[in-house]
């Protein structure tokens, strides 16, 4: 056992207490700028009576605290991160330098437009690029995340129907394989969700779809490729049917990595698409965010785009705040600018010549993993996949091993697990998305590990699987206790 009693560290393993367990310091470690002067008399009556209790560490202590904590994380820079539906790809380091240029980092959102033309030009260009890639030319950069983009898109679709006097369309059809954000976003926009069952191949069942289409359906929300990693080959017919029934098609762009530069959602008949730039265009996930979810739409929906938007007239870029039919703002500024700029840099690096290589290598990698694992693991929907492949634990169940055990064992073998138990349409789902920035060697190491796990199951050598993970700083955590008696803040 590592002995961390003295310094908190033994070898390179360490323990790190909470900030609040360290001594409070009266003085700050930072020397601050600013004017010397008394607190204004008018504020005296409002003075804070009790200090907040923020610990205050010296700079060296603070650095050590957070650097140690950082070492308890697995990141894409640390290792393979095949989370299905999450598109964890390498985040180019140069992007971190770009967004920290003073002329981009220290712009105030309300400084005069004429003094921010460089930033506006980059953002306008990104708007244009995203519209071109989606095949839907009108783009808002405002939504702060994919789910936020969904909400924005559904609001626009509802506004579109209402502007035509078509007020009884209050239903959104969502496949049972959809991300949970889809029904939640529809509900926030005041629309009811009806779930449509996937067909035996995991794709949308045209008959099931037809049975649900009516003059009350505002939209169908679909993800293409779907969350089982399969392309909806009937997409053109699906869109035609929905349009014929008077509805619109919302595209969840979470899986755009399979299509980028190869095919365009707009060409398929999709009316509205959000783009998770933190997935497809490689902006870092930051431990949960920030992301950004620009929405691209066709002509019919363009009048309803949220404001503000960036427009160009002559050589000048403007932030336009008002438009007659706009749904209004969904965010407090033009968008998550720093995230958007990183995405623009990723697109710029590939350019028109190479952009499709994102999709071709991503799809190649997913099919390679599928090919290597398909005999050892159950494949619920056989055939080629797109950018991610879906397996289940059906074979391993015979040995008492579940998806969760496989995931935890992968941690001990040096990998971040795949997405588990999603999509919900299969039992014990394992959704693997390797992305284009992984080498063949890494994929082989991962497949070798998965095959070893499968062999261990066959051999009944399952103790390590039940016990896993044994290697990281913590073993399986008691989520029941956390939820029953929530402790969300530290009490001294």
């Amino acid at each position: 056992m590592n002995d961390t009693r003295y310094s908190g560290v033994a070898g390179l393993m360490h323990e790190e207490p909470l900030l609040f367990e360290r001594a409070h310091k009266a003085a700050t470690s930072i020397s601050l700028p600013g004017v010397e002067g008394d607190t204004p008399a008018a504020l005296a009556g409002f003075a804070r009576k009790q200090a907040a209790g923020i610990p205050g560490l010296s700079e060296p202590e603070a650095v050590r605290h957070f650097v140690r904590l950082s070492q308890w994380n697995h990141g894409i820079e640390t290792g393979f991160y095949p989370l299905g539906s999450c598109t964890m790809k390498y985040n180019p380091r140069v992007h971190e330098n770009l967004v920290r240029l003073p002329g981009l980092a220290h712009l105030h959102p309300d400084q005069p437009e004429a003094t921010a033309q460089g930033a506006l030009a980059l953002l306008f260009e990104l708007q244009e690029w995203l519209g071109e890639i989606a095949g839907l030319p009108h783009v808002t950069l405002q939504p702060a995340a994919g789910a936020h983009g969904e909400l924005t898109g559904i609001m626009m679709i509802r506004a579109y129907h209402e502007a035509r006097g078509d007020t009884k369309r209050r239903i959104v059809l969502v496949p049972d394989s959809a991300h949970g954000t889809n029904p939640a976003s529809a509900a926030l926009a005041g629309l009811a969700t009806v779930e449509i069952k996937s067909g035996a191949d995991g794709r949308i069942d045209l008959d099931e779809l037809k049975a649900h289409l009516s003059d009350e359906v505002a939209a169908v929300m679909l993800t293409n490729p779907n969350t089982a990693g399969a392309f909806e080959s009937e997409i053109v017919e699906i869109c035609r049917l929905v349009h014929e029934a008077g509805g619109l098609v919302y595209g969840d762009g979470a899986n755009l990595n399979a299509l980028v530069g190869v095919a365009r959602p707009g060409d398929m008949g999709i009316d509205c698409l959000h783009i998770n730039v933190h997935k497809t265009f490689s902006t870092p996930h930051g431990g949960g965010g920030p992301g950004a979810g620009p929405v691209a739409v066709n002509e019919a929906l363009a009048p309803f785009l949220p404001m503000p938007r960036i427009e160009k007239s002559g050589d000048h870029y403007h932030i336009v705040h008002e438009a007659a039919n706009s749904i209004g703002p969904v965010f407090g500024s033009v968008g998550q600018v720093g995230v958007l700029l990183r995405a623009a840099a990723y697109i710029a690096a590939f350019g028109r010549e190479h952009l499709h290589k994102i999709a071709t290598d991503a799809v190649l990698n997913a099919n390679y993993v599928l090919a290597r694992l398909k005999d050892a693991y159950h494949v619920p929907f056989p055939g080629l996949c797109k950018h991610e492949c879906l397996l289940t634990d059906e074979i391993q169940n015979h040995h008492g091993i579940k998806t969760l055990d496989i995931a935890k064992r992968l941690i001990d073998l040096g990998f971040h697990p795949m997405t588990v138990y999603f999509p919900l349409i299969v039992h014990g789902a394992m959704l693997i998305e390797p992305t284009e920035t992984e080498s063949k060697a890494t994929l082989d190491h991962f497949c070798d590990a998965m095959l070893e796990i499968a062999r261990d199951c066959e051999a009944g050598n399952v103790e390590a699987l039940h016990e896993a993970p044994l290697m990281p700083v913590r073993r399986r955590l008691d989520e029941t206790q956390a939820a029953r008696k929530p402790v969300l803040v530290w009490q001294d």
Binding site: H24, V35, G75, H106, L188, D267, L488
Partner: protein
């Protein structure tokens, strides 16, 4: 391509393993008419890394910014000092390139940081609990309005117009798709009209939303509002634009607020032309199951050691789908890390200094104003409204100030379409030095 590791030999070997002859076969399930020709998209030609650096540097150099122009702009975004350590910590690949901590055993870094963040946010706002953040202040206010509707099962929301017009517009938008009404109560004198607000509360009111300090920087006593809310069973929602205020003035929680939400940008996040910033969100323990967004909780591992997990996830969309408390999925995780690092470096004492100097700078500016400019009166934190005799005088000053490397304020009508065009919203932080104030006042004199 420098981000794509495969050699052509790798690709051939992999295709062989898959059992197809070419990469094109992998896309055979996409109907032929949907395939676009390689290189046909109307995008720029590919740039190497040096070319990208050159392009972005040229764009950045074309802008004025707070590094070369004294920044008296606020309105929800403030130029506070960001210690280098904050930027270093959030540049660590382990924080920067991790996903949401769904596998807690290998995400304890993010999770413990979130727990520390939640604790410090709750303490700074003097609330019971805080979540692991919302996108920004505007969406946080909108989510607070929705949360209050769920808790009270009432559908009437009362909003003071002294709440930042952008927070109001987003909230109005979110509420407009649902049944119920949103009432906006006007204010006078660039301050919050508590009497009018209290008169607007009735027994059907879910929540009353105010900003404190308000959009115009005004600081006021929230106690009468708390009493009025109690009389009618309404929730008191307090928003804020510059959270640094609570290093100096009484926190919203001390007045008994039910939900407190606003921007955490002031705590170590550069202005960044509007984002990414962060929405802070705090509430009472008893309402925690109606709170939107992710939360991190403390627990134990299989060996009894302390650890942290995302918890209360049954509130969230991936489980509750259309019945979720919100559709929110991501948070502003990296910005939580920035906030936590910043607060740790400053501590109570540093936070108090930042607030005290931010307020003192405004007081010094106002004290030196020439006769042709008036400042909105009463208690103000670090922001106020300057009024000029005409639009022409104001704009003459803005132009002159800009020539002297000063962003002198935001024309009020730019953020608040209802405002007339002779006012400036002016904010100060600890980044404003005495000479900056002197230069500002000189420019005012010169533009009379």
């Amino acid at each position: 391509m420098r981000f794509l590791p495969h050699t052509d030999a790798d690709r051939s070997a992999m295709l062989q393993t898959i059992g197809v002859k070419s990469a094109a076969e992998l896309f055979a399930d996409i109907p032929a008419q949907l395939h676009i020709k390689e290189g046909s998209l109307n995008l720029a030609t590919a740039l190497h890394e040096a070319g990208i650096v050159r392009k972005f540097t040229a764009a950045a150099d074309a802008n004025r910014h707070a590094g070369n122009t004294r920044c008296f702009l606020g309105g929800g975004t403030y130029h506070h000092f960001v210690p280098a350590v904050v930027d270093y910590v959030i540049s660590r690949g382990e924080f920067l390139t991790a996903y949401t901590p769904y596998q807690p055993e290998i995400s304890q870094g993010t999770l413990q940081t979130l727990f520390e963040f939640q604790t410090m946010v709750a303490r700074l706002l003097n609330m019971d609990v805080a979540n692991a953040s919302m996108y920004d202040a505007a969406t946080a206010v909108a989510e607070a309005a929705l949360m209050a509707r769920r808790i009270t099962r009432r559908h009437r929301t009362v909003v003071a117009t002294s709440v930042n017009p952008r927070y109001r517009a987003v909230t109005r938008n979110y509420l407009s798709w649902l049944d119920g009404e949103e009432i906006e109560v006007p204010c006078t004198g660039f301050a919050t009209d508590l009497e009018a607000l209290i008169a607007a509360i009735d027994d059907n009111t879910a929540s009353v939303i105010v900003q404190y300090p308000d959009f115009y920087g005004s600081v006021y006593d929230l106690a009468p509002l708390r009493e009025a809310c109690d009389r009618h069973g309404a929730l008191m929602v307090v928003s804020f634009g510059d959270v640094s205020a609570f290093g100096l003035i009484e926190a919203p929680g001390s007045f008994g607020a039910d939900i407190v939400c606003g921007s955490g940008q002031a705590l170590g996040i550069p202005m960044g032309f509007g984002g990414p910033h962060i929405g802070l969100f705090a509430c009472r323990q008893k309402h925690v199951r109606q709170m939107p967004g992710r939360v991190c909780g403390m627990t134990e591992d299989a060996d009894g050691r302390r650890g942290f997990v995302l918890t209360l996830s049954t509130r969230e969309q991936h489980i509750r789908r259309e019945k979720a408390t919100s559709n929110i999925c991501s948070n502003q995780g990296l910005m939580c890390t920035a906030n936590a690092t910043y607060m740790t470096l400053l501590g109570d004492a540093g936070l108090a200094t930042v607030a005290q100097r931010s307020a003192a700078a405004l007081a010094q500016l106002v004290a030196g104003l020439p006769a042709h400019v008036t400042a909105a009166g009463g208690a103000r934190y670090n922001e106020t409204v300057l009024s000029f005799e005409s639009n022409a005088v104001r704009d003459r000053f803005l132009k002159l100030a800009e020539e002297r490397a000063i962003f002198a304020g935001i024309p009020l009508e730019k953020i608040d379409p209802d405002a007339s065009n002779e006012h400036l919203l002016v904010a100060t932080t600890e980044m404003i030095e005495a000479t900056d104030i002197a230069d500002y006042l000189t420019a005012l004199e010169a533009s009379k």
